[in-house]
């Protein structure tokens, strides 16, 4: 999904994730109509179906890289949270930084951890909000590679919001959002 700043990309992503509620119309997510759900029900739906990668990474500062990845698994009370998290961090090339806190990681490393966290619960839908926005070009490219690789491996539906039109070539379907209107390109 591409579009100019202020066109409503992030708002649409918030609506899909149930982080925000629509003022008109209806949103169906995995056969659930989320408009009439309360905050808790939407949260439950998110924990089952949705993973996130944010532009600002949003790793928890008091948590190590490993603990950040374990968090969604712990929320689901999974007993092998640590094993899964370790495997994922190895997969994203962060096996040497497991015990490090976000402040001691570079921006690229933080995004790797954030990607590992997003895939940890193997969600059917992954929402990525400008995942390369805070990264330099080179690191950004590597991140996109990683995201697409994992997307393939986990068979996830990825909704990617970006400014980078070159990325559209790697996506199955592309949409442009202009003044609140979505059109396929």
């Amino acid at each position: 999904m591409i579009g100019k700043s202020g066109s409503g990309k992030t708002t649409l992503l918030s609506l899909i994730a149930g982080l925000d509620v629509s003022t008109a119309g209806s949103i169906q997510l995995f056969r659930h109509t989320i408009d009439h759900m309360d905050e808790d029900a939407r949260a439950e739906l998110r924990s089952q179906y949705i993973g996130f990668v944010f532009q600002a990474f949003h790793l928890l500062p008091g948590f190590t890289a490993l603990e950040n990845v374990m968090l969604p698994l712990e929320i689901k009370d999974m007993v092998d949270a640590e094993t899964i998290a370790r495997q994922l961090l190895v997969r994203v090339g962060m096996d040497h930084r497991l015990g490090h806190y976000p402040t001691t990681l570079s921006a690229g490393e933080q995004q790797r951890v954030a990607i590992a966290r997003a895939f940890s619960t193997n969600p059917p839908l992954l929402l990525a909000d400008e995942p390369t926005g805070n990264l330099d070009t080179e690191t950004g490219k590597k991140m996109i590679e990683l995201l697409f690789e994992l997307n393939q491996e986990y068979g996830t539906t990825l909704i990617l919001v970006t400014h980078d039109e070159s990325l559209t070539r790697r996506c199955d379907r592309c949409f442009r959002l202009t003044q609140g209107k979505l059109e396929q390109i």
Partner: protein
């Protein structure tokens, strides 16, 4: 599920803010616990002691021996009986003298409770059910030390030497030894006469002790009551205990008010730490929501660790408070007995409640705000919803009021404290604003780094002001304690002229008067005139008994009513006295009626006016006198002063003694033994000794206060660090921008250095100026002495405070300094 919370608890400990919050709550709890524990144990001490404080079931207190009629009534009772007689006198040995309080007791004393004695100096206390046998005395260890004696040696009281056979450690009817200036000499009743100290007019206190069946006690009380003279009264447990309790309670209340400063600073620290904690947790909360955590579990994830940490802080606080209370007890060791009763539940409850109030009313508003964080904040960087300020302020105001009320247990005092605190904060805030403004203007002529430092101060004016007020309030308190301890006593002493009397001689009998004056003259000792004294009680005002004339509440406050007054007469107005209304009597007046001049303080308390008729009871005589003048008296002048001065001749025929004050030079002190030998009935009060004792007491109480103030110091450090944490965001951003535009590290350090020096200087100047003004007010209006400049407080406020702030500030920005600009900007 619990393992999930456990992991969160462990992980959240890594956040600086939660650690700071815990320390703040710990301080508030430790201070409350130490103070309430101390109060509780002291109160229990009074209750316990009151059970045996009379050494009997019923005590009749009298300043004279009982009359025949009364003795006849007593003879008829089947109750156990004992008599004690107390009087002050000089004891001597090895040519040294000490003012002592002699207590002569009959064989069966004490009727209730036991004496504790030791057979060696500082030996083990042994309970014993009787007093010394005739010819022997038991003394307090101070007598042994001051007179350089040992057990088995002799001490002279009046005309007789007594063998010291035991050390008195505890007397059941002495209660707390608080304010006991004079050490005890316990002797047998039969030995009193041989000392020849007791003469008509001597200052005596008889206690007639009774014990036995309640019915018989009541009968006796009923039979004796109609015969009681104004100088006689039954002592109840409540009466005996109340005076002691009140004195220590005042000191304790002062300590408690000081503790409130530490508790409130702790509360402010907790509030700021919670604010920062909520800031740090905002994204964590949004992430958890985004990841699907919901309902009670989501709230639990935020609140459970918070409350667990609060609980741990309370437990640690109590532990530290327990230790602190031992330090306070140790610092007050001369004023209270060494072993106190164990505490009850109240201190535990009060400190937990105080800590919970700190958590709920100071920290909760910020956490509550956190729970309203929308998860979409992660996507569109929306600002978290701000809690309406009115909710936060109301919550804190309620918390503050409850904490102050719990501390004082008095609505009016709480009101004064809160009002005083608000006034202090407003004043300090105003001063801070002025000084920041002044610094910004003045810095325009200075180096660029100084200018920037000053401007950054202005940019965070609100937070910086809070930081400054917290530091100023702590150091102001520390400096004031220093001033009170060092200056005020010296100032009071400096008011006393060089040749002011340093000895008082009381109980001089009329027949010794001329010899006494001759001896003074012979030895070239300067002295005041000899004032005649008749001991009597004020019994009625305008025909109405005093106790009915004024309200009961007031009577308690008028000390003069609770004891015999020294009534004097003379034609010359004493040098420090001033007539404020009416006419001082002159020889030619020759009034038809007896006239009296009354001291203004007593007149005000008892509502005595010119023209009123006062009735005095002197032993069995009653005298009526017309009030013809009211006088102001300088009590601190160390010259003899009187509440009541009569027209000469008014008290003729009544038992009289003389009082004088004199100045003994250091070299003349050696004359004292001869004086005591020649005039055994005279009691010499060494004023220097009393001053040393008073200074000792002030020092001990101020040490206790200081211990509490160290907590304030620590709490204010917490406030400082919490504010630095809140400002770190701003500081990091500023450093990044400075670095980005090419500023070198050294330059940035200079900016921060000047900023911290400004904060330290403003705090120090505010603390010092408030200390100066309040110290000045106290010395001018309360002790009427000259204000003494104290170099220590000046150094503390104007030098140590800026240095400490600079060090703390420097430490707090180290991480920001060392981080590369790119990373700082990315963190944004």
């Amino acid at each position: 599920m619990f393992s999930f919370y456990n992991r969160l608890i462990k992980r959240q400990w890594r956040l600086g803010a939660i650690r700071l919050f815990c320390v703040a709550v710990t301080i508030a709890c430790a201070v409350t616990f130490s103070i309430t524990l101390l109060g509780d144990r002291l109160e229990k001490l009074f209750i316990n002691q009151s059970k045996e404080v009379l050494a009997a079931d019923l005590v009749l207190d009298s300043t004279t021996e009982l009359q025949t009629q009364q003795l006849d009534i007593i003879k008829q009772t089947s109750l156990e009986q004992a008599i004690t007689l107390r009087f002050p006198t000089m004891a001597n040995a090895n040519e040294a003298f000490i003012l002592s309080s002699v207590k002569a007791v009959t064989d069966n004393y004490p009727l209730r409770g036991q004496l504790q004695v030791s057979n060696t100096l500082y030996g083990e206390a042994v309970p014993i059910g009787h007093g010394p046998v005739a010819g022997e005395v038991w003394v307090e260890d101070r007598i042994i030390n001051e007179l350089d004696l040992s057990l088995g040696e002799y001490v002279t009281v009046g005309e007789r030497a007594f063998k010291i056979t035991r050390i008195v450690i505890y007397e059941p009817d002495r209660g707390s030894n608080f304010y006991s200036f004079t050490p005890r000499i316990l002797m047998h009743w039969d030995d009193v006469a041989s000392t020849q100290v007791i003469q008509p007019g001597s200052r005596l206190r008889y206690h007639y002790l009774f014990a036995g069946e309640t019915r018989a006690l009541e009968d006796l009380k009923q039979n004796l009551e109609p015969t009681l003279q104004p100088n006689q009264k039954f002592e109840t447990i409540k009466d005996t205990n109340e005076a002691m309790a009140n004195t220590l309670q005042r000191a304790y209340r002062f300590l408690h008010v000081t503790a409130l400063i530490a508790i409130l600073l702790g509360a402010v620290g907790a509030a700021l730490a919670s604010y920062q904690y909520a800031n740090e947790m905002t994204y964590q909360y949004a992430v958890l929501r985004c990841l699907g955590l919901r309902g009670k579990r989501l709230h639990g994830a935020i609140l459970f660790p918070f409350f667990i940490y609060s609980f741990i802080a309370i437990v640690i606080g109590m532990f530290l408070g327990g230790i602190t209370h031992y330090f306070i007890l140790n610092s007050l060791r001369d004023l209270i007995p060494s072993s106190l009763p164990p505490p009850g539940m109240e201190p535990f409850l009060l400190s937990s409640i105080t800590a919970l109030i700190v958590v709920v009313s100071f920290a909760w508003p910020f956490l509550n705000n956190l729970l309203k964080t929308p998860p979409k904040l992660l996507l569109n960087h929306a600002e978290a919803q701000e809690q309406p300020i009115i909710f936060t302020v109301t919550s804190m105001a309620i918390g503050l009021s409850i904490i102050v009320y719990l501390g004082t247990q008095n609505v009016l005092i709480s009101f004064y404290i809160i009002a005083g605190l608000c006034a202090f904060i407003l004043l300090a805030y105003g001063l801070t604003q002025l000084l920041i403004h002044w610094i910004i203007i003045r810095s325009e002529m200075q180096a660029v780094s100084t200018q920037l430092g000053a401007r950054m101060l202005g940019a965070n004016r609100r937070m910086v002001s809070l930081q400054i007020i917290a530091i100023a309030i702590t150091f102001f308190s520390l400096a004031l304690i220093q001033t009170l301890r060092d200056d005020l006593v010296s100032s009071w002493q400096s008011k006393v002229p060089e040749n002011a009397p340093n000895f008082f001689a009381i109980n001089l009998f009329a027949e010794d008067k001329l010899t006494f004056l001759a001896e003074l003259k012979q030895n070239n000792i300067s002295h005041s005139p000899l004032y005649p004294i008749v001991r009597g009680r004020l019994s009625a005002i305008n025909g109405e008994p005093v106790r009915e004339y004024v309200s009961k509440e007031k009577v308690k406050k008028v000390e003069s009513l609770n004891r015999d007054l020294a009534l004097s007469w003379g034609l010359e107005l004493p040098p420090d006295n001033k007539i404020i209304s009416g006419q001082w009597h002159k020889l030619e007046d020759r009034p038809k009626q007896i006239t009296v001049s009354v001291e203004e303080g007593v007149a005000e308390n008892l509502k005595i006016n010119l023209g009123d008729t006062l009735e005095f009871t002197i032993e069995t005589h009653k005298i009526e006198a017309l009030v013809t003048s009211l006088r102001s008296v300088e009590w601190e002048s160390f010259t003899p002063n009187f509440y009541m001065i009569f027209y000469p001749g008014s008290l003729d025929g009544l038992p009289l003694t003389y009082l004088s004050s004199m100045h003994l030079k250091q070299s003349q002190r050696t004359l004292l033994p001869t004086f005591v030998q020649h005039f055994p009935s005279v009691t010499f009060f060494d004023v220097d000794f009393l001053l040393t004792r008073i200074r000792g007491i002030i020092r001990q109480i101020s040490t206790a206060v200081e211990i509490i103030l160290y907590f304030s110091l620590f709490a204010s450090l917490i406030v400082f660090i919490a504010i630095e944490m809140i400002l770190r965001h701003y500081r990091s951003y500023s450093v990044a921008i400075f670095k980005a535009v090419g500023a070198r590290s050294e330059f940035i350090q200079k900016i921060f250095r000047s900023q911290f020096i400004f904060v330290g200087l403003i705090s120090g100047v505010i603390a010092y100026s408030l200390n100066l003004s309040i110290g000045f007010i106290i010395s001018t209006y309360f002790i009427e002495g000259d204000y003494v400049f104290n170099i220590k407080t000046a150094i503390l406020c104007l030098f140590i405070v800026p240095v400490l702030v600079l060090m703390a500030g420097y430490f707090s920005i180290q991480r920001v300094h060392q981080t590369p600009a790119k990373q700082l900007l990315t963190e944004e």
